[in-house]
Symmetry: C2
Subunit: 272 residues, 2 copies
């Protein structure tokens, strides 16, 4: 029997499925954990989703996603903080260990200023996260999202906020799609290990050529990311958490999701 | 009269035009310089193109592009070196001050190994460049091109090769499109200034949202790049060369190029 104990799937990976369908399919194939995107709990509410998840016995590494902290409008920023507190409450309700933060970026707002807003915002919500016993994980996004999705595009800038706020509930979600190109990747993974901030490890692959800015990720082994090398760095860093599959792909979303799930399992077992 | 003395246009910016059409239109509107892409000299040959350019009186900051040094096949790498020497010869023939290098990347070849190949390749062709009195400028490309176009995605890695090879004919072409997101940009521009390696400054803007990986750059001022800030850093670095407009855009290529050229001139005058 292959060891799937560290496999987790992000529900967005099987976007056509509801939460109930994800739970059913993942359990059936022996996958022990799923990270939950907010869109699949919205139709149910967090309470009912939490009940379903507890009944399933599946583990829930993360709720995705909080963040989007940046704005040139203070009232928008305030509303975002409130939404992030609700997101933390939902994570608590569904038993998720952490909320993954996509921090935001705003055209016209300098990236350095945006990063200050992010640090201030995380500082504001950390007490709420601690009270709920939900960790916060900053996910650096690829520089191609620097305009409007994330002003944090390397692990280094995530690390700097972790160092500044220095809180045991704050860390980093490392996604190979966003970070594989970074010449400092190995060194920053080792840093995160020493600082105990490596909270999550997301995998997929970079398709060559990539045809869409958002929804053309591919299955592990079908792209150019040196997955075994990065996995080795993460292992050396002492990371023993779930290795989470997060793939946005119009191509794969269009196929039979049960068959696709088997392909994901097989790629996860052989390509990492 | 507005001062256009530091304006240069890359011929690819007006892709529908031949070299003769570019020369005619740029002169007519008072633009004193153009950087020449190899595709527009190919139909003429470098000798005839050189004659046209000398007759025009326009300056030629650069021939674009050499590079693409990386491969898993040694014979391919060798052929590429030969092509780069030809490119240097063409630059000499048309009176271009430098060849811009897009260094290449190869799926399946580790980025660190690819960078070694790049350094070795540049080392091999530098004597030829020196003999021809043509500079070589490494252009870091955005990390979204790390898979198959460039293993050098930040100024830092370009700087490291410049430091390693330490040659007066080797420097960096800074393009805002590729580097605006880099948290180290200001510091690296200052580095390049001290090391006298800031050879070129290319401008355009990052459209939000960007709809295509290659051909959706936009006109200065129509995107999110802090152009005036970066221009200020470049000025402080003592750079006094041409400020070159390089825009790949299916949208702008589809419009009347004479009208577009006026828009470029106006954006260059007001947005930098």
């Amino acid at each position: 029997m292959p060891d799937l104990s560290r496999l987790a799937i992000h529900t967005i990976t099987n976007k056509p499925w509801s939460l109930a369908e994800c739970i059913y399919a993942y359990k059936k194939i022996g996958i022990p954990a799923l990270s939950v995107w907010r869109n699949v709990i919205e139709p149910l509410g967090a309470k009912e989703a939490g009940q379903m998840l507890r009944d399933s016995g599946l583990k829930v590494p993360a709720l995705i996603r909080g963040g989007f902290f940046t704005s040139t409008d203070a009232s928008v920023r305030q509303a975002t903080l409130d939404d992030n507190r609700r997101c933390i409450d939902e994570a608590c309700e569904i038993g998720a260990e952490m909320v993954v933060l996509v921090v935001g970026a705003t055209p016209g707002l300098a990236l350095a200023e945006a990063r200050k807003q992010v640090a201030d915002s995380i500082h504001s919500i950390l007490p709420h996260a601690q009270a709920a016993n939900v960790k916060l994980a900053i996910e650096p996004l690829h520089p191609m999202y620097a305009a409007d999705r994330s002003c944090i595009n390397r692990i280094k800038e995530a690390r700097q906020i972790c160092e500044q706020l220095h809180h045991s509930m704050l860390g980093i979600a490392l996604d190979v799609y966003h970070t594989w190109w970074d010449p400092d990747l190995e060194q920053e993974i080792a840093h995160a290990s020493r600082q105990k901030t490596l909270f999550a490890f997301h995998v997929c692959d970079w398709r060559v050529p990539t045809r869409d800015f958002l929804n053309d990720r591919t299955l592990m082994g079908k792209g150019c990311i040196p997955l075994k090398t990065i996995r080795q760095w993460v292992d050396l860093a002492g990371f023993t958490g779930p290795i989470e599959v997060e793939i946005f792909s119009d191509e794969y979303w269009a196929m039979d999701q049960t068959r696709y799930l088997e392909m994901i399992r097989d790629a996860w077992l052989t390509q990492l």
